[in-house]
């Protein structure tokens, strides 16, 4: 599905990603783990062409997308759910969704505004509300819904659990599971390693802009060395 080959990405002079390679197979959920500043978000932004890599290649389904602009990459079939409160807060919930649906015109797939509202019934009651007034969990629903409307082949989730209440994290777990059942490929960047390892098929661990480990998630979760590195308390199990 997605193949990243030795990308190097810079912010100005600083060399953030130093030869990152990773692969996501069709229908696979892959976790991208690492400490703060390891390069998880930069990897996402490199894929989306927001901070394009200076070297290396990124291909989606065999077609190279390196060097394309962000909207072209989105149209190639990647849905992006950024971290933080990045909804269009001046617009209502419904306008946010309609805008995404308008941008997704011509795509083929199961996702329509109606189906998104079915998945997140909460958004129906909030549809006239300004998106800036939503809670963290509600904004997450809206961001996810917007990305799904693209009918993407691949979904990029950047730190989705960040700032969410534990109850909402459980909902998020169910939503991602459901999308996995629909054979969506997912790249999940997470600070919450136990959450990510619980849900994903495979995981990569980034350190200082390089991939340190990659293995099936169950293996990563069972390795004492990895658990210590990621700082996972042995009792915490999310989801």
């Amino acid at each position: 599905m997605l193949k990243i080959d030795e990308i190097h990405t810079y912010y100005g002079q600083s060399h953030i990603l130093q030869g990152v390679s990773l692969e996501i197979a069709a229908g696979e959920c892959v976790a991208l783990l690492g400490r703060n500043g390891a390069g998880k978000t930069t990897t996402m932004r490199s894929i989306m062409g927001m901070t394009p890599p200076r070297r290396g290649r990124i291909a989606l389904d065999g077609a190279e997308i390196t060097g394309l602009s962000t909207h072209q990459i989105a149209r190639a079939g990647i849905g992006y759910v950024p971290s933080g409160r990045r909804v269009f807060s001046e617009l209502t919930v419904r306008q946010n969704l309609d805008l995404a649906a308008h941008d997704a015109k011509g795509t083929v797939g199961p996702w329509t505004v109606e189906r998104v509202l079915e998945m997140f019934p909460k958004l129906v009651e909030l549809s006239g509300r300004g998106a800036g007034f939503l809670s963290g969990g509600e904004q997450q629903m809206l961001k996810l819904g917007r990305a799904l409307l693209r009918n993407p082949k691949l979904l990029l989730l950047d730190e989705p659990t960040e700032g969410l209440a534990p109850v909402v994290v459980k909902d998020l777990f169910r939503w991602i599971k459901r999308l996995m059942r629909e054979d969506l490929s997912i790249l999940l960047s997470e600070q919450n390693s136990s959450f990510a390892l619980n849900i994903s098929d495979r995981g990569y661990i980034l350190e200082k802009g390089q991939i340190r480990f990659s293995a099936p998630s169950s293996e990563l979760a069972n390795s004492r060395e990895i658990r210590t590195y990621l700082g996972i308390d042995s009792k915490t199990v999310a989801g």
């Binding site: 989306m48 909207h71 992006y80 990045r86 269009f88 001046e90 693209r150």
Partner: protein
């Protein structure tokens, strides 16, 4: 002061306000989305006026006025689009000083081109027969064309309000103001959207020039004189806010009318005093926020 004087002064204040709003709205729209202060905005306005005056010099018949009103904005919007693609697009990421230099050079280039095409002599555009003469308002005679200018400003304000609040294009413009990157990730070609916004803003300037042309002489200096007051109006209202531009224009229109009535020789200073007072109380302008309209 009797009632008739109040009506007349009120209407001339509204006429001033209307012409200020027509120019400031485009300036504010462009700043809201692109965060660029377009120093050449007044020059684009001048192009609209020249377009209208040239059209009349060619024939002088009334219906060409209406054609001009329609075509001048398109003509100026096209100039704006070309300027955006060739120049402005390259400096959105740069600091304000670089942007100012670029729009200032655009101002110089367009002004020189105008001199080459139209020379230094001032031209004039006629009022169409249907709008020349006077109309009765509240018991007083008032120039019909001035009422038409007020009507144009109101129509433009309503059209912008509907565009930004009710249409997909308007939602996308507001989304781009807030977070262009996320909008691009949703599949919108934000570069093209910005070109469109700049073209719309320029088209509004061209429309303003075409509407105002019959009220004054069209000469090479008209762009410069207007950009300062348009900028003051936009700043008082809060840059980026269309409603703010309307309020700012109304305020300046009233201040100017009162100033001319009581202290004619000091009137030009009142505008600046109004700006200083507003900014001292509200540094972001009356309707200004960090983002939005």
């Amino acid at each position: 002061m009797n009632l008739q004087v109040i009506v007349i002064e009120g209407l001339s204040a509204m006429t001033t306000a209307a012409s200020l709003f027509i120019i400031a709205a485009g300036l504010s729209l462009i700043f809201g989305a692109l965060r660029v202060i377009n120093v050449a905005h007044g020059t684009l306005y001048m192009y609209g006026a020249y377009f209208m005056a040239t059209l009349f010099a060619a024939s002088g018949s009334g219906w060409l006025f209406w054609v001009g009103l329609l075509v001048a904005p398109l003509f100026v919007a096209a100039i704006g689009a070309i300027a955006e693609v060739t120049l402005l697009r390259r400096v959105y990421e740069r600091d304000h000083l670089v942007q100012l230099l670029v729009t200032y050079s655009l101002f110089l280039i367009l002004s020189d081109l105008a001199l080459r095409f139209w020379g230094t002599a001032s031209l004039s555009a006629n009022q169409p027969p249907s709008l020349s003469g006077a109309a009765m308002v509240g018991g007083v005679m008032f120039p019909a064309y001035d009422l038409f200018v007020i009507g144009c400003a109101v129509a433009m304000g309503l059209a912008l309000w509907a565009l930004l609040g009710r249409t997909m294009l308007g939602w996308k413009i507001r989304a781009a103001v807030e977070d262009p990157e996320t909008l691009a990730a949703s599949g919108t070609n934000v570069k093209r959207l910005f070109t469109l916004v700049f073209a719309i803003g320029s088209g509004l300037a061209g429309f303003g020039g075409a509407v105002i042309a019959p009220l004054q002489s069209v000469d090479p200096g008209m762009g410069q004189s207007v950009i300062v007051s348009a900028f003051i109006v936009a700043v008082i209202g809060g840059l980026g806010s269309i409603a703010g531009a309307a309020i700012g224009a109304t305020l300046i229109g009233i201040v100017e009318a009162v100033g001319i009535f009581y202290l004619p020789s000091w009137a030009p200073a009142f505008i600046f005093v109004a700006m200083i007072v507003v900014l001292a109380v509200r540094p972001v302008g009356l309707m200004g926020q960090k983002l939005g309209y």
